[in-house]
Symmetry: C2
Subunit: 390 residues, 2 copies
């Protein structure tokens, strides 16, 4: 296809407003119990009614964020949809100590304990944006309280559910500073300038200092507390989509202060990961890799996932807007062609989530335990904005 920025902006905008959002509006709202159904088959039919807290919060976030950002296009029912989730989650989502469960059943009874901090992360993001959209004061308190949980538990994100024996192999994960960077930006309007700048500064330093390997140009998922490598399955793990997503968070933060050095470094990492993780035979990006080329422990390593490709499109669009480097634009077009040709479902709407290595649909679903109303609409919105800005 021919690519021009205005056409791309229109493609993303139309897909967001006329395809993706209507899919979730139509099929996912549980009008009886509140909250959302996220296990939707190709056509939107509910095949499981459990409510996974990550995805519940992410859907609140999506509808609230778009309601806040899209002055001209927003619809009043977006706020209603967000409220339908927010009221349900505020009532059922937390244990007695205010920690966010991992899953609830259809009625809101707890199924899975708060075994890590990511539910709290997504709750903070969701209620921050919902408070802004609705003007409801109580939602601010929910957001701040969840954010404080994350800060409090960040050194020990799994708490008593940690299976690692203390001391033998100290290790920290990219997920924690990465999500904290993004989350803190999301919370900006509720934080003091001092908290904001100190958390952002620390997370950028940690991600680019400890998890980034300058020699190989790759972002590692797990390192020792001082940023050294570990020669074990976890220590060799490369999660290309995660590394690339982290890099657009970094570009986002660095662009606030026109820190071109950090922006260019983050762009270089994206390009290095793409070189390393692009499947030269079938196209697309691998899900997991071993930095040394050993067999990864994740059996799904060679699959092509929707969010990996969407986050890559976002990263490349931001990278190109900020740096105008040709190589970003070349990669953008290559990933665009792969993603739009393989994941988009012209017949039933929304995107497929899981393809096998060859790019064939592996799971015929639009939503499940991990795929909800989040990466697709967020990427559509962000890419639209980048191309509009170009």
């Amino acid at each position: 296809m021919e690519y021009n920025f205005q056409q791309l902006a229109t493609l993303y905008k139309n897909t967001l407003l006329n395809d993706v959002l209507p899919f979730w509006e139509k099929y996912s709202c549980d009008r009886e119990q509140g909250g959302y159904f996220t296990c939707l088959d190709r056509e939107g039919k509910v095949y499981d009614t459990d409510k996974f807290i990550w995805l519940q919060n992410r859907q609140i976030w999506t509808f609230s964020m778009l309601y806040n950002q899209l002055e001209n296009e927003k619809q009043e029912n977006w706020l209603e949809i967000a409220r339908n989730g927010a009221n349900f989650l505020a009532k059922h989502g937390r244990d007695g100590e205010g920690n966010w469960y991992f899953a609830l059943n259809h009625n809101g009874e707890p199924l899975i304990q708060p075994y890590n901090i990511f539910s709290d992360c997504f709750a903070a993001m969701a209620f921050s944006k919902y408070a802004l959209a609705s003007g409801e004061e109580w939602a601010k308190d929910v957001a701040i309280s969840a954010y404080n949980n994350v800060l409090r538990r960040q050194e020990n994100p799994k708490g008593k559910y940690t299976k690692a024996y203390p001391g033998t192999r100290p290790m920290k994960s990219l997920a924690v500073p990465m999500i904290l960077a993004n989350l803190t930006l999301e919370m900006e309007w509720l934080l003091t300038a001092e908290t904001l700048e100190s958390v952002l500064d620390a997370t950028v330093k940690e991600v680019m200092g400890d998890f980034y390997d300058r020699d190989r140009g790759l972002m590692f998922e797990n390192v020792t507390p001082d940023g050294s490598h570990l020669d074990c399955f976890d220590g060799r793990l490369i999660n290309p989509g995660h590394g690339i997503e982290a890099m657009w968070f970094i570009m986002d933060i660095a662009s606030r202060s026109n820190d071109t050095k950090t922006i260019n470094q983050a762009v270089d990492v994206v390009l290095n990961i793409l070189d390393f993780a692009w499947d030269k035979e079938f196209g697309g990006l691998y899900y997991f890799m071993d930095a040394d080329g050993h067999p990864p422990q994740q059996l799904e390593w060679d699959q092509k996932l929707w969010w990996v490709h969407l986050e890559t499109l976002v990263a490349l669009a931001i990278a190109y807007r900020l740096t105008k480097r040709d190589i970003c634009w070349e990669w953008y077009k290559k990933v665009h062609d792969y993603a739009w040709n393989h994941f988009a479902d012209a017949e039933c709407g929304e995107w497929f989530g899981y393809l096998n290595r060859r790019g064939e649909v592996l799971l015929n679903l639009k939503g499940g335990k991990w795929k909800g109303c989040f990466h697709v609409p967020r990427a559509m919105y962000l890419c639209w904005q980048q191309f509009e800005g170009l």
Copy 2:
């Protein structure tokens, strides 16, 4: 190929003695620290030195069991290899309360806590057989103590690491009675006749009463405590290899008392699972399925795994020996052709573990975190014995 029982017996015997065992003898023994390397690439080269307790114990079991069973073929170094693991594990494998860790590092320092009872199961099996092989009294005590851990913890196999919220959705897993059935037989010489019969009786009743769905003819992985179905990801889960393996354990137990009714029922389940889980397009058995045809949560669901096919060959060989039903022989030949054509590695020895849906090698390894010296040699030995018996 032409199949005759003597040729098949010879194939399994020769593969066990001249291919599989030499592979592990040659590449897996850690002569310096003790224990075994199980992360071996296609050619046997060690790519990771962590020591996973399931696999450590299973290798002790394999070499001890064969030393006990094969009067004519056994080699003295099999006992040495078993001792190399047993001494290492007796020293490093357990926490202060006698629970078995999940993983140790190269030197034997604990890496992963005892977060479920399966490490204890495999320890009981290993040390039972090792005590018999070596005549060492202390090893008996290790076995009995691990077995008592399993009995004590069977109602709450994950203990404090359980993530399920108590009470909302009570659920039990096939893995527990299944492993208990097999383990109890393995411990026979160390148990009173009363304990033996009561545990075997209870496990057969539980597996065939609660986990077996008579209407569908399938074995479910997870049910309510009274054996009802649950309409959720876990409740709809079918693990064909696991169900088939459980059925040969049941045949094994039922054949002790010539309980032909139970034997035939178990054979019927195997045949039903095969009909349900055989990939009609590419051949082989799927790894995971949803009983209602919804998308399973396991992304690796369509992969073809070595142990699934080997346990199926064992189940069909036992089923045919016990019942002489033609359909078992027809299925045996079909699975035999698939398994020997796709998993066996004539060039480097041993079997590949992980194929994609099309039967192409997905991970180029002979051992890893979950594949060690166990399913291949156990199945070779058992199939050899069945065909020798025919």
